[in-house]
Symmetry: C2
Subunit: 701 residues, 2 copies
């Protein structure tokens, strides 16, 4: 049995530069998709549903999304490249609207400092951050065929397949995930109905529950122990080796400067810290933000838009003083926001039962580590709602201790429920002072805050004075080395040495780098005294709270959340995006295709809406009104205007609501004003329906 | 003497997949910066100037742009990587506003189909497009030091340096380009004052005028002939070799799939043609558009933001029927737009004298090739004006025949004058049917239009009938090969064969792939007749008009165009962006820094403006009002609100105009309304000044 279910992680949060800190997780830069099983654990979620509660038929939705060009496999005419997708016009516009909403919700609302950092990143930077060494997955090669398998995925697939064979042999019902099944059929033998020992079933289930936690060596042992081979040929595999997930290239003509495509925008942001602090007139706290593509060379991408090799991220690095409990000045504004939480303790107890509580309670009870972290969790929740995600399919899951990097103080993922299970769409981590510290240590750049203390700080400490006049002649060319060694002594040793000096009239020190490795210093050369020092400035490395958004995952999950199908003569898909998010706001439909009497009206309306900043498209094809509207429901356009022959006489138009298919009728100006207030979110369709006369003519099929 | 001056080209338009079509230009994917000399040719442009006509001091501007974080060298704490820059908050916001304006001006206004294609591109695609073979520059290596030089730049620099030495020796004044000079000092010996023969001076000048046109072999000959060596060491160099400018990487774990970072967005767009045509319900013409980063691995980037390795592009591919003269339905709307043109003929005559004419005249006279090309040239012009570029520093330069790819029908660059000379910021090319054709040929994908003819087309042609029953037994396993060979015969040969058949009762054909390579076919097996065929559909490959925008170049040139310095106690820089383009719209300045009486007013105003969608920042630092406003003039913020103690009493505020420093005073609502109408471009400051009472209190320095 699994202890907890996980979404597809964005991955970086599992990066653990310190060895031995997170057993089994060093190289699991991306998590396996055990979320595919997640719904099984939670019977209420056993089947994913549409917006209206119908069972969600993913192949039907997917074919609609491709037909309407929300997205399309990239380079398809060249056979395609797995993990690379293009967005077509509606997908592109949806993405732009999500980004615009993000900018308003975060950057503008919180006066963040947006930066645009390069994707090309030199080796040295990602070496320091730990990515060169640790950002990898385990892969196995079949030496005969040259095929490559992601080790954890392979073990998972084979054991699952055997468990299914066992169920079949026992005459139990087997649930089939169609996409997975299709892939299996392509590359593996059919599932054999073969009964396993009860004890073996138990072993397999335990391994699957922990599949995230094995390192390469352990995966290798499992492969040997359970005789896991190339599923197609039965050939033996080489032991797992680490495969770094960054795309490598070289910058400049001499091939000397190795570089990578960034796996996250964060490192670029950290390196601008000092300049941004200056830009912000040394005022803390502040946040930087960056929107841009990042890249991961997945071993075998799957799950459509959810695991891709090139993806749009929006990341915030909020810098906060680690002293004073990481309070947030605007926490009050969100304290009452109610969230669905799945905390660490509950997961450890083997349950996925979520708790609903306000973020105020969560911070007060210590469930969430700090006000600042809590503030952003609540703001993420509000952002996702603003996009139109279903609150019943949203939860915040806390990372287990062994999921987080060793330096992280706390980490919560916003997960959205889809037909692939719970998907991590936003990570919100407290990265402590780790990143700024390692870059400072490597480069010497002052990536910290220096501020004047309100009250000078008095520090009692052991200070060392050296008589430089005598010191030079005594130690000659070793003088500097000895001096540096003395400078580096800590308080405890200084205290002990002051006693030696008093007692013996000299001190003895081990100083590597000198001829004998040891020196003795007489008391006429050195003085060690306890004194009081007054510090007027304070230096500290800020901690970083990092909300990181996978825009493509949010976009896909949102499409599942707003999708439903309208019943009628034939079922028709609808995407009920909220008007501000919808790719196009208004469809203009001349009743009779390209009739010359209607054309000028359509053109004028279109221009007028455009001037109001309202995107619209004209469908003057020969299809019936009903067909044209239904095509448009699939595109998620919230409003439609019908231009008919009555319009020519009295300049009145019909306005149609996508979700209810209800229509109202009024004059041009009134209709345009109604549209504007709907798009800007000031009014709902119910308001408009109350104000304007209904139009009841049936849609023509 | 130079025949014409060129900007820094975006480069791709010089790509020439067909050999021997464009002599000397095969590998010059990017042009050398001979624009650095361009202003010399045109005495009226001898010195670049600020918005107000002052001489432009580039180092002063540059230091201001970096201090205010419009941009900053990327990875500076790691020593930086040449050709990579990050945008800070004002640069990032400026870029976002340019993009938003671009989307409104092109995508929305023209109902273009925006797509978001991946940057990672498989080898095969760029092989077909010609980039793998031809997208390269020439470089020379010093075998001793390992240093690498871009060959054309090296020849240029060395000859220029010798010409300067000659001038010095002759006692003439030497103009010095500071940036170039600084680079030279870093790597080369000082200029030697050495007089050259008059004939040598003439030779050098002629070479410099043609420096764009040499291929690798010719550059190698120049290097040998003029004894050009490593400027630092004097060491000999290896002959020039081609260096491909694409960043290479490999996709997936097996390293089998070579890929590149795209050098342009165009190829991704071409590959979606068929799907977009479907999306557009088979209706022509239409355009796709794509905004995104592209990459070029420059050998030695220089000239700041103008030649970088990672850059934002916005490209349009407008597909048009090649028949019917490439008319454009909205050409009338722009026909009267006046443009400054530098056409091919004028450049050939050795002049850079521009002509002002309307685009209507330019198309009518044949100066510009077609209405569609002309329409986009005019729309580009209007777009650049909308951003705030100076029309006196804008021109459209036609490509010379040897600059264009062999398939291009015509090409014009929008060039902006800067302190680096005339810079190509937008290219507008008619790429003919080239790209769609090569991808169709390679993949078999139908990247063309199939439309029903209004009138069926009757075609008289020679048709061949084969008696299949007899054909099989006669040719056995060679039957298919022979049949295919017959199918492939063109009309002329068919006609000739029909005569043979009549005369000799048989025909003889060479058929490679058969045993003897030849076959004879008797007349009882084959019939060749002239018949009439009726075609109801028409198939054609659309031509592509491609406006391609280098957003970073536009952004930098714009900053030079709107920059000036205000004279006073000390000179202060101002960036006079138009309000819709300015990074931040309003600065809020409490008269007395963080005074508690003023704080709530500032907060309320800030929230109110934000709700109106107007970006604003608060400066409540301790600096004087004057200092704070002047800091803000450098950021290009068009408006400022002063909150003072009078505001606490009567809720009135002072509104300040950046450009005139004039102030008006009124109540909160009136001030906010005035700001909104200024930002949306409905009113000018002059309007506001007429309506509201002036406020004459001096700014405090």
């Amino acid at each position: 049995m699994r202890h907890w279910s996980k979404g597809i992680r964005l991955g970086r949060t599992t990066l653990a530069p310190g060895p031995a800190t997170i057993p089994h997780r060093y190289f699991s830069a991306t998590a396996p998709q055990n979320n595919l099983q997640a719904p099984k654990l939670d019977p209420t979620m056993a089947t994913s549903t549409t917006k209206t509660g119908q069972p969600l038929d993913r192949p039907v939705l997917d074919s609609m999304l491709r037909r309407r060009m929300f997205y399309t496999p990239a380079f398809e005419v060249y056979g395609g490249v797995s993990g690379l997708y293009d967005y077509g016009p509606p997908g592109c516009s949806l993405q732009a609207n999500i980004i615009e909403t993000w900018r308003k919700h975060f950057v503008l609302e919180e006066d963040m400092l947006e930066v645009d950092c390069t994707m090309l990143t030199p080796h040295e930077v990602l070496k320091t951050s730990g990515h060169v060494e640790k950002f990898a997955d385990w892969m196995c090669k079949d030496p005969k065929t040259g095929e490559i398998f992601r080790a954890d995925h392979l073990v998972e697939e084979v054991l699952e397949s055997r468990l299914k064979g066992d169920k079949e042999a026992r005459g139990q019902k087997v649930e089939i995930d169609e996409e997975k099944e299709a892939k299996r059929k392509k590359k593996a033998k059919d599932i054999k109905a073969l009964k396993l020992d009860d004890s073996v079933v138990k072993e397999y289930e335990e391994i699957l529950a922990k599949i995230d936690n094995y390192d390469g060596g352990e995966l290798g042992l499992l492969i040997t122990k359970y005789n896991i081979t190339n599923p197609t040929t039965g050939g033996n595999l080489e032991p797992p080796v680490a495969f770094n997930l960054m795309f490598q290239t070289s910058i400049g003509p001499s091939s000397n400067l190795a570089g990578y495509l960034r796996p996250e925008t964060a490192q670029g942001q950290f390196l601008t810290f000092q300049k941004l602090l200056d830009f912000n007139q040394q005022s803390m706290p502040f946040a930087s933000a960056c929107i841009g593509k990042s890249f991961r060379n997945e071993i075998s991408p799957r799950a459509g838009l959810l695991r891709v090799r090139e993806f749009l991220m929006a990341e915030i690095e909020h810098y906060v003083d680690p002293e004073g409990g990481k309070k947030h000045p605007r926490f009050d504004e969100v304290a009452d926001v109610k969230l669905v939480l799945l905390d660490r303790k509950v997961q450890l107890s083997g349950s996925t039962n979520t708790t609903e509580m306000t973020i105020g309670e969560a911070v007060k009870s210590g469930t969430v580590d700090s006000e600042t972290l809590g503030y952003f969790i609540a703001r993420i929740h509000l952002f996702l709602l603003r996009l139109g995600t279903d609150p019943k399919k949203m939860r915040f899951r806390q990372h287990m201790a062994n999921e987080m990097a060793h330096y992280a103080a706390d980490c919560w993922d916003a997960e959205l429920l889809t037909s692939y299970g719970w998907i991590e769409c936003v990570g919100c981590a407290d990265r402590s002072a780790y990143d700024l510290t390692v870059h400072t240590r490597k480069t010497g750049a002052p990536l910290f805050v220096r501020e004047t203390r309100n009250e000078p700080l008095k520090i009692e400490e052991w200070q060392v004075d050296i008589d430089k006049k005598k010191f030079g002649p005594r130690f000659k060319k070793e003088g500097k080395t000895v001096e540096a060694a003395i400078e580096a002594l800590d308080q405890e040793i200084r205290e002990k040495l002051s006693l030696d000096l008093e007692k013996n009239g000299k001190i003895e020190l081990e100083v590597p780098g000198t001829e004998t490795g040891k020196v003795a210093i007489d008391k006429d050369l050195i003085k060690i005294e306890k004194r009081t020092r007054t510090e007027h400035t304070r230096e500290y490395t800020p901690n970083v709270i990092e909300p990181a958004f996978g825009i493509g995952r949010i976009l896909y999950s949102l499409m599942e959340h707003v999708y439903w199908s309208r019943e009628g003569a034939e079922e028709r898909g609808v995407l009920s995006f909220p008007p501000p998010i919808a790719p196009t706001k208004v469809l203009l439909v001349p009743l009779s295709g390209g009739h010359p009497d209607l054309k000028p009206l359509v053109k004028r309306l279109s221009q007028k809406l455009r001037r109001l900043g309202i995107s619209n498209r004209v469908d003057d094809s020969g299809a019936s009104i009903g067909k044209r509207y239904s095509r448009n429901d699939e595109l998620g356009t919230p409003l439609g205007i019908t231009v008919d022959f009555q319009s020519v006489h009295d300049n009145s138009y019909t306005l149609r609501d996508r979700d209810s298919t209800k229509q109202v009728r009024s004059d041009e100006d009134t209709i345009c004003r109604a549209i504007q207030s709907l798009i800007e979110g000031q009014k709902t369709w119910a308001d408009v329906q109350k104000e304007l006369p209904e139009f009841t003519q049936q849609e023509l099929d």
